[in-house]
Amino acid sequence: MSYKIAVVGDQDTITGFALAGATYTHIHTAREETLAKLNEFFASGEIGLVLITHRVAEEFGFDFRQMLRTKGLLPLVLRIPDKTGYMPKVDELRKIIRRTVGAEIMVKKEGL
């Protein structure tokens, strides 16, 4: 099945990915609006990938994680840094590793 791509973030990120061919974009300004838009993206069956900047994802914190938990396999969700390269200190993946495996895992070639 073919799916489209949605991007949520700041103006620059949106512009860039629009130039690259992402179908749906939303510039985050007001919280309610973005939340509604995200819900719409998650509910529509035609979106296969949602890119969201870390900054926005972090702002929604709990609501966003709740959405991730309740969504099915689709859409895939990837958090990306915005143009300032902003990344949260706590890595989502690391958190999951620690919770499931019960130990911090450091892979030697530092890449994460």
Binding site: Y3, V77, L78, P81, V101
Partner: protein, 212 residues
């Protein structure tokens, strides 16, 4: 100590319990094996993420730099305008793959990079800087799509792992000990009954001998 189940101390019940312990043990072993397999799978995906992530993020920051250049040279409004005129029809094929019975996504992307001519914005009034920025974002997007597949797989496996772990723990620390406790209880009770019977017989025998 685990709380014993409420059971009637009969031989029938004992047999049933033994069967249940056997079954629980078998389930426990299987789940344990599944957990090991999941861990292996998980690390496999992690390794791939570790390779893909720096590449994708690097390309993304390169793209952002190019876009900033474009904003500066072509102009913010013009760039935004061009982004609105661009054909935005990129499609990804997402199917599911199964690892140990968990559905993980498998993403297939065609060519993301496009020629400036087919992007859709007018070539008049735009510059090669814009083409460059678009190309870099297309490259970044392709890498990010791959990364998304791996990350989503990792999350799916981790979720399943957690579930399995909970089940394994429930079996190991609650169900199996309880069943064993119940078995012990029944065996003690049966032994006690045997002893009671034995002393009762002794007593009756003594009484009978006395009467004669």
């Amino acid at each position: 100590m685990a709380m014993a189940l409420a059971v009637a101390p009969t031989r029938m019940e004992l047999l049933k319990l033994r069967q249940r312990v056997g079954l629980a043990q078998k389930g426990y072993d299987l789940l344990k094996e599944k957990m090991d397999a999941l861990v292996i799978e998980f690390f496999e995906v992690l390794k791939r993420i570790q390779e893909a992530r720096p590449k994708a993020l690097e390309q993304l920051s390169v793209a952002h730099r190019a876009l900033s250049m474009c904003f500066a040279i072509v102009g913010t409004l013009e760039t935004k305008q061009a982004s609105k005129e661009t054909k935005r029809e990129l499609q990804v094929d997402v199917s599911t793959r199964h690892i140990m019975g968990i559905a993980v996504p498998a993403v297939e992307v065609g060519e993301v990079e496009r020629n400036a001519l087919i992007r859709g914005y007018g070539l008049h009034m735009t510059s090669s800087v814009l083409d460059e920025a678009s190309k870099k974002f297309e490259r970044a997007l392709k890498l990010l799509i791959e990364l998304a597949e791996f990350e989503e797989s990792a999350f799916a496996i981790a979720r399943e792992f957690e579930k399995t772990k909970r089940r394994v723990n429930a079996l190991e620390y609650i169900l199996i000990p309880r069943l064993k406790e119940a078995i012990k209880f029944i065996m003690m009770r049966l032994d006690e009954m045997e002893r009671e019977n034995f002393s009762r017989l002794k007593r009756i025998k003594a009484m009978l001998e006395e009467r004669e």
